[in-house]
Amino acid sequence: MSDLTSAGTAIGGAPVGGDGPAPETPETGGKDHNASLWADARRQLVRDPVFMLSFLYVLVVGSMAAFPSLWTSQDPRACSTDRSRIPPSGDHPFGFDILGCDYYSHAIYGARPSMIIAIMATGAMVLIGGGLGLLAGYYGGWVDTIISRVMDIFLSLPFLLGAIVFLTVIKRQNPYTIAMVLFLLTWPVIARIIRGSVISGKDLDYVQAARAVGAGNGRLMFRHILPNAIAPMLVYATIVLGAFVAAEATLTFLGVGLQPPAQSWGIMISVHQVYFLEDPWLLLFPCGLLVGTVLSFILMGDALRDALDPKFR
C-alpha cells in the first residue's frame, strides 16, 4: 500500500519547483498563490514602507473627514475680512484666507467633501459598474450587447467635458451630485475590467467544476467568479479614488464643482490659485494636502498591484 497520507504533512510553505504546473499550461503557475493572495499580500504590504506611509496618510485624512473636531477647535466659518490673507502664525498654522477665515480649520473641514465625493463615487462605481460588468460578462449575448453599447456611449464622452455638461445641467452642486456625475462618467471603466475578468473567469476549470456539480448562476457568480475579479478592481478603485479627489478640485476650478460657502480643498485651491504668486501658502497648503492624498491612494494602489500580482514576486 502506498503511504500517501503522510505526504500532506510534509508541506510547509508554498511549494516551489516540484509543484510547478504541467508544461502545457505554464500560465497557471500564478494560481498557486491565489488563495493566500490576501494573506501574502498583507504580509508584503505591511513590510512595504511606501504603502504603510501612504496608508497612514490616508488614515489621517480620513479621520479629518470623519472627525474634524479632533483636529481643530476653530470654527472655519468664523471669518472677518479684517484678517484677510494674514500669513501663517503659531496660533493659525495655515494663516487666514481671503475672507479672513482660519485656513487650517478650513483645510480640516474641507477634507470631508473631498472624501465623500471620492468614496461615494468609487463605491457606486464598484457596486453598480461592477455589477453591470458582472452581468454582461456572465450572461453574454444580448445582455452583454446592451450593457456594452451603453458603456460605449458613456465612455465616448470625454470625462471633463461630460462632467461639465452634466453638472451645468444638474445645477445643484453638492458632494452627492458631483459624486453621481463622476460615477456616471466612469462606471464603464470598472464594468469593463470586471467584464473582462468575468469572461476569462467563467471558463476557468474550477468554475466549470462547480457547474458540473450543479451549482447555480448565483453561486457561480458570487462564490467562484467574482472573488477572482476583485483584485484588479480593487487596485483600480484605489487609483480612481485618488483621481476623484483631484477631479473635485478640477471641477471646482472649472466652475462646475462645489460652490462656496461649502468647504473643500478644491474650493480652497481654485479660489486662491490667483494669489499663488503673492501669497503662495494659500495655494500650497490645500495643494499639498490634496496631492498627498492623491499620491497616497495611487501609491497604495501600486503597492497593492505589486503585492497581488504573482508575476512581480
Partner: protein, 524 residues
C-alpha cells in the same frame, strides 16, 4: 501708411505703430447688436456716432452731428455733417441713421440694442406681440417695419420724435447702438458682423478671427481726426489671468482691466503705467421687496448698515472698488457725495432698526443670491459673514445658477433673498441710474420698487428744458430711494488699466473708457 514721421512732435504724440490690445471675445461687431464691453471696445473704433464724449469731462460734443436741437425735448431735429462715408463708399447721411435705428428696433431682427430705441415714437409697433402669450410656432409680423418717430427731412437732416419728452436725449445718442449703418451692412447683417463696414477712424483688416483676434487699420477715408496708431490689434482672451500673463511677457500694450488678484502686484510693478479712475459701474444687492421678509424698509436699512463695504473691498478686491455712498456714479454730473446714511457700517443702529422692524424670523436663514461662475460668491460670502456677525442672522449662498437662469429668476421675481446684480450706465446722464432700475414697472426694476412720488419726479426731470434744470428733480428722486433702499448699493468699479512701455500717451475717456484710437505709441 499714415506716416506721422514728418510731422512735428506735438503734445498728443506721434501717429504710427501697432497697438496691441487685450480684449475678450466680442458678442457682435454689428453696432445694433453689440452691447457688451468687448464688443463696444471694437465697435467704437469702427463706427463713429452723432455725438462723442469729452475725454476729461464726459460732456457730449457733436461728432457726426452738425446740430441737435429741440424746443420741447420731444421732437428733436438732427443735422448730419456732410462728407462722411462708410468704408465701402456709401455716404453717412440721414438715411444711414434712420436705416440703422429701424433695423435695431424691428424685433424680428433680434438686435440687442433695439432696447435703446424704445423712447422713440412707434417703437411698440415694431415689436411682434404674442396674442395668446404662450408662443405659437411663428411669432406674427409686427405692425410696422419703421419707427414712426423717425422722419427724413433732407439728405442730411432728420427728426426724431420721442414718446415722452426727454432732456437727456442728445447725451444718449453717443452710445454705439445709435451708430449709422451702411445699406450693404443692413442688407447682409451677418456678413457685416464678420467684416464690418464702419464709418470710424479705423476699419477692419481681413475679418473677425473669432476667439483669436481682430485687426484694425487706420481708415484713410475718415474725415474726422484720424487715429494715432497705424494698427489696432485686438488679441482675444477667454481668461483675464491668461491675458495678464501675456501682458507681463510683453505681448500686449494695453489691458483695460486687471485680474483682481494681481492689482497689488501690478501697482508695485508698473507704477505710473497702472491707470486708475473712479468708474461708473454699480454693483448692488437687490432687495426682493415682493418677499414679505423684506417689505419693511427698516430691515433693508439694517442689512445695509451691517455691511462694511470698504473692508470687503480691501479683502476681496485689493481695494479696486469705491464704496458706494449714493445711487449715482460719483463721476456723473449731478452726483452728490456721502448722501447715503445707511451705507456706512453701524452695528448699533442696525440692531436697533432690526429690533424696530420686529426682528428677523428666528431660525430662518438669509439666502444670498448670485449667478455662478463670475466670482461673486467671495464677496457675497463676506457680506453674509458680516451680517451674521452684526445681526446674528445666519445665511446661505445660492450661487449655482448660470446667468441665463439667474436673470430669468430675476424677471420672474423669484428671489428669496438679497440678490447681486450690476448696472452700467447706458449713457452719461444720471437718469440712467434711476429710471430703468427703480421707476414703477421698469424693465430692470428687479426689486419691484414702486413709488409714485419717485416716478413723478423722474417725469419732471425728463421734461425739463435743460440738464441743469433737470438735475434737482433727479436728486430729489435719489433722496427717496436713499431712504427706502430698494437695493443696497455696494460699490463703484474702479477702472484699472495697465499699459506697456511702448505707449507714449494713454487716453481714457471718462464715458467710453479706453480710447484706443487716441493712444499714441513711442516712435523710435
Amino acid at each position: 501708411s499714415g506716416g506721422g514721421n514728418d510731422s512735428s512732435d506735438d503734445a498728443a504724440g506721434q501717429a504710427g505703430g501697432e497697438l496691441r490690445i487685450y480684449n475678450a471675445e466680442p458678442a457682435f461687431l454689428l453696432p445694433s447688436a453689440g452691447d457688451d464691453e468687448p464688443s463696444l471696445y471694437v465697435i467704437r473704433q469702427l463706427y463713429s456716432q452723432l455725438v462723442k464724449y469729452n475725454a476729461e469731462t464726459g460732456a457730449p460734443e457733436n461728432d457726426l452731428a452738425e446740430s441737435i436741437e429741440s424746443t420741447d425735448q420731444k421732437l428733436w431735429t438732427i443735422k448730419v455733417k456732410s462728407g462722411y462715408t462708410f468704408d465701402n463708399g456709401e455716404p453717412v447721411n440721414a438715411d444711414a441713421f434712420i436705416r440703422a435705428w429701424n433695423f435695431a428696433a424691428y424685433s424680428p431682427n433680434g438686435q440687442n440694442n433695439g432696447y435703446f430705441m424704445k423712447k422713440i415714437a412707434g417703437f411698440k409697433d415694431l415689436q411682434s406681440t404674442d396674442p395668446d402669450g404662450d408662443g405659437p410656432k411663428k411669432a406674427p409680423e409686427p405692425k410696422a417695419k419703421e419707427l414712426s418717430g423717425l422722419k427724413k427731412v433732407d439728405d442730411l437732416t432728420f427728426t426724431v420724435e420721442l414718446d415722452t419728452p426727454f432732456s437727456g436725449f442728445p447725451t444718449t445718442i453717443g452710445y454705439p447702438g445709435f451708430s449709422p449703418m451702411a445699406k450693404a451692412c443692413v442688407d447682409d447683417s451677418e456678413k457685416c458682423n464678420e467684416t464690418p463696414i464702419g464709418n470710424g477712424r479705423y476699419k477692419i483688416e481681413g475679418s473677425w478671427q473669432h476667439n483669436v483676434g481682430i485687426n484694425l487699420v487706420r481708415s484713410d477715408t475718415y474725415k474726422g481726426e484720424p487715429g494715432k496708431a497705424d494698427k489696432l490689434t485686438y488679441r482675444i482672451f477667454a481668461d483675464v489671468d491668461a491675458a495678464y500673463a501675456s501682458f507681463q511677457s510683453g505681448e500686449l500694450d494695453v489691458m483695460y482691466t486687471l485680474p483682481p488678484a494681481r492689482y497689488k502686484e501690478a501697482k508695485s510693478q508698473y507704477g505710473d503705467r497702472l491707470f486708475e479712475l473712479a468708474g461708473d459701474s454699480l454693483t448692488y444687492v437687490g432687495m426682493p421687496i415682493y418677499n414679505d421678509a423684506f417689505k419693511k424698509k427698516e430691515i433693508r436699512q439694517a442689512l445695509s448698515l451691517a455691511i462694511d463695504r470698504q473692508s470687503i473691498i480691501d479683502a476681496v478686491f485689493d481695494g479696486r472698488q469705491a464704496p458706494a455712498t449714493g445711487f449715482i456714479a460719483p463721476s456723473f454730473q449731478g452726483a452728490r457725495e456721502n448722501v447715503c446714511q445707511y451705507c456706512k457700517k453701524d452695528v448699533e443702529k442696525a440692531k436697533a432698526l432690526l429690533a424696530a422692524a420686529g426682528g428677523w424670523p428666528a431660525g430662518q436663514k438669509l439666502t444670498l443670491w448670485a449667478n455662478a461662475g463670475a466670482g461673486h460668491d467671495q464677496w457675497l460670502q463676506a457680506v453674509g459673514d458680516q451680517i451674521k456677525a452684526a445681526l446674528g442672522i445666519d445665511y446661505e449662498l445660492k450661487v449655482n445658477l448660470q446667468f441665463a437662469q439667474y436673470l430669468e429668476t430675476a424677471d420672474a421675481k423669484k428671489f428669496t433673498g438679497p440678490f447681486r446684480l450690476g448696472w452700467g450706465p447706458d449713457y452719461p446722464y444720471l437718469e440712467t441710474f434711476l429710471a430703468p432700475l427703480y421707476s414703477t414697472g421698469a424693465d430692470s426694476n428687479n426689486s419691484t420698487y414702486a413709488n409714485p412720488e419717485f416716478d413723478s419726479l423722474l417725469t419732471q426731470g425728463d421734461g425739463a428744458n435743460s440738464i441743469d434744470e433737470a438735475i434737482p428733480f433727479y436728486q430729489k428722486a435719489e433722496d427717496l430711494i436713499l431712504e427706502d433702499l430698494p437695493v443696497l448699493p455696494m460699490w463703484w468699479r474702479k477702472e484699472a488699466a495697465v499699459y506697456s512701455e511702448n505707449v507714449d500717451k494713454f487716453v481714457w475717456n471718462k464715458v467710453s473708457d479706453a480710447d484706443y484710437g487716441s493712444i499714441s505709441l513711442k516712435q523710435n
